[in-house]
Symmetry: C2
Subunit: 243 residues, 2 copies
């Protein structure tokens, strides 16, 4: 039987009070840990449920906040907030480091075994932690083929796994090519999965922002992307034997 | 405990006597089955070991022959043989159907649950079976982003999973784009995995033909590609509970 314990954690970052969701697996010992980054609109119950699902498998997980506990359901409001953030690696890193500090401070976390997984904006933040030289065991992103400042990808020292929907207008072929070129030139160990027919945010059940063109849920590919994330964690963040 | 039984099977196809390798899982009942296609040089012990590994998991597997029991270790000889074959869908289909008939005739095979997995030339044959309308549960190919005759991809009725090395000069970006366009236009359920840093034949331990430029083994990405193939089978060809 597995019992997950969850806790709301608040911490300062980016001039805001962030409201994260910490999920702890059953047992008492230290465990590999996952920093889980949400999509652009913010942290909601669906993303918190992802953290709980990972905790059920045995990971300590912090689903981190990116915008001070808000849910930016209006696309214009979300883009007005996310666009400058995505153009500012230092702000993204500050948000990521604040979350990482919270995760590392949790006694159940094994601080030497942390992976960063993120979706959309949360994925861009995960990548920036890698480009900042943070010691991560894996970086996994979905719909976040974001490039960084020249030369900094060489500081990524862990495998990078990236998934993207083939019909994602926000991640067109040119963006994929630029992302691949950056990782290739930096000598990073990388993989890219293209999910056929999937649009932007294919990995998230329908919400209000799903009415934008090019945005939509694809349950089958979403399930596969989730299995791929689990596979990345199984490879790079193996769990100790169950207690 | 699992015990795999193997048998050499000979059958006619393409004007040759093919020498396949049939691997049967432990037990007596019918099982989901896999048609396993080899790389261009032909069927060797490594590829037979893939069949055995799948049989250990519970599948009936035929590692099929494509060239009459030969091993075309010389690249020029291999290309002289494979190039016209790859340009001839009817010949590829004949080779595939002959193998499929052998697999279906095996009493342990559940004829309603067959997947086709192939590497390079063997993958091109797997795709042609799909384009011929064969009732398959899944098609998986590695380094075989081959396109077919116009319109025929619409006959593919199962998920297609394709993996390719990012540094495979035989499968350049234009070939990937054409492959994706064919599947997209046909409404096929597809995924593509690009393995960073992997060359052509990255999935095969070094052999003599590995001295060609752009050809080389990548053990880490090879292991991931194998896990991805197992994941495709787990999704599309679930095994009954162990007896």
């Amino acid at each position: 039987m597995t019992t997950v314990t969850t806790r709301t954690v608040t911490y300062p970052a980016d001039g805001l009070t962030m409201v994260g969701h910490l999920a702890l697996p059953a047992g008492d010992g230290r465990r590999p840990a996952v920093l889980l980054g949400p999509e652009g609109p913010g942290l909601n119950d669906f993303q918190r449920s992802r953290a709980d699902a990972l905790a059920e498998r045995g990971y300590v997980v912090l689903a981190f906040d990116i915008n001070g506990g808000r849910w930016l359901g209006d696309p214009q409001e979300m883009l007005a907030w996310a666009t400058p953030l995505l153009a500012d690696p230092d702000r993204m890193r500050a948000i990521g480091h604040a979350a990482l500090d919270v995760l590392r401070a949790e006694p159940r976390t094994d601080p030497d075994r942390i992976a960063a997984i993120g979706y959309g904006t949360g994925g861009a933040i995960a990548l920036e932690l890698g480009r900042d030289g943070v010691d991560l065991r894996a970086i996994g992103t979905v719909n976040a083929l974001t490039t960084g400042r020249p030369g900094e990808a060489a500081r990524i020292r862990c495998p990078v796994w990236a998934g993207v929907g083939s019909e994602d207008p926000i991640m067109p072929d040119a963006q994929r090519d630029a992302f691949i070129a950056e990782l290739r030139d930096a000598g990073v160990d990388w993989r890219l999965v293209v999910y056929g027919g999937a649009q932007h945010a294919f990995h998230h059940p329908p919400v209000d922002h799903a009415t934008r063109p090019g945005v939509g849920h694809h349950p089958l590919q979403a399930e596969r992307a989730w299995r791929d994330v689990l596979g990345l964690l199984a490879e790079c963040l193996p769990l100790p034997e169950a207690e």
